[in-house]
Every structure is written in structure tokens, then in C-alpha cells.
Amino acid sequence: MNIAWKEIKKNKVRFLILGSIVFLVSLLTFIISGLANGLSQDNAALIKDLPKGQFYMNKDAEETYNLSKIDSDIQKEILNKQKDAVAFSIQMGFLNDKDDKQQSVAFVASTDSKLFKNVKDGEIILDSSLKNKGIKVGDTLTNNQFSGEFIVKGFVDQKKYSHAPVAYINMKNYQEIYRVMEMQLIFTPGGDSSKEFTGLQSFSNKDFLNTIPSYNAEQMSLNMIVWFLVVISGMLFAIFFYMMNVQKVGLYGILKAIGIKTSRLFKMMWTQMLFITIIALIMSITLSQFFNMVAPEGMPFHLTFETTAQLSIVFLIIGFIGATLSGMQIKKIEPLQAIQQGEA
């Protein structure tokens, strides 16, 4: 006989309240996680979309890529040794459209590579978000540091850096605008950190993301909220089942006296925890995925199924731990004590 289900059926309101709270907490967790992912994409999609590999910057730059200048001889040596390696630079800047309206962009220039868009002198490829600003293929854009004009050759999807749309330009044009000859970074796909080059410091993809100003702080605070909510949900289970168990000490004692196994009482509690959590998670996953589809375009919201599944598993584990911790009192209940206490 499934006594766990019988109790839920008889005490619907009690379990509905807990289920609603778990649903709200998990929904909030998914939404914030979606925002964290969305902001992360908005901040560093350009870097995150690169394959696993190694980034190199000048040791003297002290982990600030803006200050990095890679010696051209070392650059040549690396690019000759590894054919798919690429040297590139990123700089924040402005573009003026035909109405002289300024658009903030992240200029990206690179050596020939499949990993970055290669553009010719005087051409520019932009992130598609700039289409919404009225910029079209064939438009002419200017920059006050650049003597010539940029002709828009096309658009790319979801290429953002530091919350600004990426603008791919030719290396020669980049050197003119920023008056530097050296590139800031070298990326070697699939490379490992054991490869060292004189005067260069290597970073994994994750380590490099953390050198981006604001990225780490932004992600850390959002992830902290996410994990805080996960812990709260675990505590909710612990408190709820603790309160329930306190009320049922007498009943558990009598059940133990008539010979019920302690493990069966634990199974009853775990079944109830699983039932509530799974229903609440199904609802919050459905709603958060729906939100993922209808979220306004300007809102940086990106919730993958992988993230949702990972968080759901964490919720189940935390719920299990919370319920089990509170259930430890079941183990301590003496049947005799319950009999002497009288009717529960």
C-alpha cells in the first residue's frame, strides 16, 4: 500500500503549499539562470563561440588584454607552427551611420582564419542586432579615426562582446584606427597550456573569459543568486518535513510499535519529496522554456535545456538531502515514548 500517496491525497492543501513554493523558487532559479546565461552571451559570445583552445597575451599586460601587444616575430613563429592559430584584437569603438548617428561596437580584426570573419580593406561585417538600428547591407559607415569609409558587406548572428555588437574589420583598417601595429591576442584551437612561448601568458577559454572586465563580477553575482535559491529550496524541504515529522512523532512511534520498518517511513517521506519536486519542476521547466521563447528581443535571456536539466538534478539532490536530514528524527523515535505521549 502506498501510504505516501494516501497522505498526499488526504492533505492536499498542505502539500499544495509546499509544491507551490518549490515551483516558485525553481522558476525563479531558472529565470535568473537564463538571465545569467543571456548576459554571458551578450558579454562574450564572440569568445564563448570559439572552440576549446589556448589564448595568449603579453605577460606585461598583467592579464588585461587591452594592454597586450604581441611581438610580431613571436606571432609569426606561432602562426607558422600551428596553421589554424589566429592573432586578433578587440577594441571598443563607434561607427557613424549615414544620418551621422553613432553606434557603439566592438571592433574585431584578425589574421586569416575560419574562426573570425575575414573582411577586405574598407569592408565591414556586423552583428545582426544592428539591423534593428536601420543599418543594411551596402550602407556606408564611418569612424572619426578612419580616413576611409566602411561598406557593410553582411551580418552575423549572435556575435556580441562587452554587451556591444561586434564589427569585423580588416587588420589594416584596425591598425589605422587604433594606431597600433601589434595584435593583442593569439588563439590556438585545441592547444594545451603546456605550450609556452617567450613573453606570453596562456589562458584556457574559461580563464580568458574571467579576464574580461565586468564578466566575472556579473556572472559571479548572478550565479550566487542561483545557488542561494537552490540552497533555500533544500532548506524549505528540510523545514517542511521537519514540521511534518514533529507533528507525526506519535504516529511514527505507534507504526514502529506495530512493526513497521523505519526504512518504510523514510521511503514514504522520499516518495512525497520526489512527487512534489517533480511536479513543481515540470511546471517551472515548461513555464521557463515558454518564457525563453517569448522573452522580448532586447532582453538577454538564454536558457538551454542542458542548464535546466542540470539545475533540476541539483534541486532533486538538495530536496533529498533536506528531507533526509529532517527525517533523521524518525530514526530516533522510540515507540514506547509515542505510546506514553497519548493520542497525536
Binding site: I3, L251, I258, G259, L336, A338, I339, A344
Partner: protein, 228 residues
């Protein structure tokens, strides 16, 4: 036939540095199909004796022999199994599971005792016992809708549904009025004879002694008098 024997059972409790002996070497034997009542003033040790016999707490010394097996030498899991399959319990309060119907209370006990009956046979058994305790008309009722006497009848039904060898009853009529107390005692007496169960009961209500076969009077941890 003797089914239960208590041999020189002692129980001491330690309260700080003071050691108190509640039971001072009790010898007792119970026969099949008989109701034995333990009577005595509060603190005489009758409830302690009942709970030791029922395997709910260990004796400090002595032996509890049930059906030829020494329960004092068994592990707690072995004692639990005996409690679940061979013993039935009725307490001062009914202690029914609030979220189970009358029928489900009895089905749960069959589950706990690991009854080998089929689902259909279990239902038939539940109906039979509910008829015996005259609660068949309330089999779908929850405990909250039952009177005190009805609850105690269901508790008795739960205690005997798995056909235990011994029924332990700790002040089963203490929470009932005089008429209901008599009904419940009459039911216990009837069940003991019909199902050939051995019943050990604690009571302080002298009126109820007319329903029992043996009376054991206790005082200060010893048996003062034993008689029919």
C-alpha cells in the same frame, strides 16, 4: 499450553546517580486463549512489564520466552519481525493513521505483517474482522469521523487482522466511558476465545476484571498475588 514466559525479569532505570529498580524479578506465564490482566497502583511496574513482554523495551535482567524462543537474546530487527507478525497492540488511545480509511488501516497492518494472502483474500479478511468488531458499515470512514469507541474498535481490528498469537492491551478502556469500556472488553474477551489468542492487558479499572481469566496484582515491582 503456555506460550509466553517471563523468567526473573528485572528492569532498572538510572536517573542521574540514582538507580531505581522498577521490576524486581518477575516470573509469569501466559496460556493460549486466555485473558490475563495486570493490575496495581500507578508506579507498580505493570505497564513496564507489558512493554518488556511486547518487545518494546529490553529487560535489564532475566528472560522473555515467546513460543520457545528467547526474545531477550534476539536482535532488534528480529524482535520487530515478531512484533509485526505475532503480536497485536491496543493502546489507551486508538492511535489510528489519520489519513487512512478504516479499511486501509487494516490493509496496512496486513502489509506490515508481510501477510502472504492475495489482494482478494486480504479484502475478505478485512471484511470478516470488521464484521467481528461491528465496524463493517464504516470501512470507508476516516478516523476523524469516528467516535472514541469506534476508533478503539478499529484499533482492536487492526491488532488482530494478521492473526497474532499474543494481544497486548495497555489500558484499552481508559479513554472510554463506562458503556463503551464494557463493549470493548467484551470484544477483547470474545476475540481471545474465538481466535485462540493470548491476551495480556494492563488496567486499573476493577470493573473490567470480570472479563478476564487471570488477574495478576502488582505492587512496587513485584507480583503480590496471582489468581483466577
Amino acid at each position: 499450553m503456555t506460550i509466553f514466559t517471563l523468567d526473573k525479569v528485572r528492569k532498572t532505570f538510572t536517573n542521574g546517580e540514582i538507580e531505581e529498580e522498577i521490576l524486581k524479578g518477575i516470573n509469569l506465564s501466559l496460556k493460549e486463549g486466555e485473558v490475563t490482566a495486570l493490575v496495581g497502583a500507578s508506579g507498580s511496574g505493570k505497564s513496564t512489564l507489558l512493554t518488556i513482554a511486547a518487545g518494546l523495551q529490553p529487560a535489564s535482567n532475566g528472560q522473555v520466552i515467546f513460543d520457545g524462543n528467547n526474545m531477550t537474546a534476539m536482535s532488534s530487527e528480529e524482535v520487530r519481525k515478531i512484533r509485526a507478525s505475532k503480536f497485536g497492540f491496543v493502546f489507551q488511545f486508538a492511535h489510528l493513521v489519520p489519513f487512512l480509511t478504516v479499511e486501509e488501516q487494516l490493509m496496512l497492518m496486513l502489509d506490515v505483517s508481510e501477510s502472504r494472502l492475495s489482494k482478494q483474500a486480504r479484502k475478505a479478511e478485512v471484511n470478516k474482522i470488521l464484521l467481528l468488531v461491528e465496524m463493517d458499515h464504516k470501512k470507508n470512514a476516516y478516523p476523524s469521523s469516528l467516535s472514541g469507541g469506534e476508533k478503539q474498535r478499529v484499533a482492536i481490528a487492526r491488532a488482530i487482522i494478521h492473526e497474532p498469537k499474543v494481544l497486548f492491551a495497555d489500558e484499552p478502556t481508559a479513554s472510554l466511558d463506562s458503556k463503551r469500556s464494557k463493549d470493548v472488553m467484551s470484544l477483547i474477551q470474545n476475540i481471545t476465545k474465538t481466535l485462540n489468542i493470548t491476551t495480556l492487558m494492563v488496567t486499573h479499572d476493577e470493573e473490567m476484571l470480570s472479563y478476564v481469566d487471570h488477574v495478576i496484582k502488582m505492587s512496587d515491582g513485584i507480583v503480590l498475588q496471582s489468581g483466577d
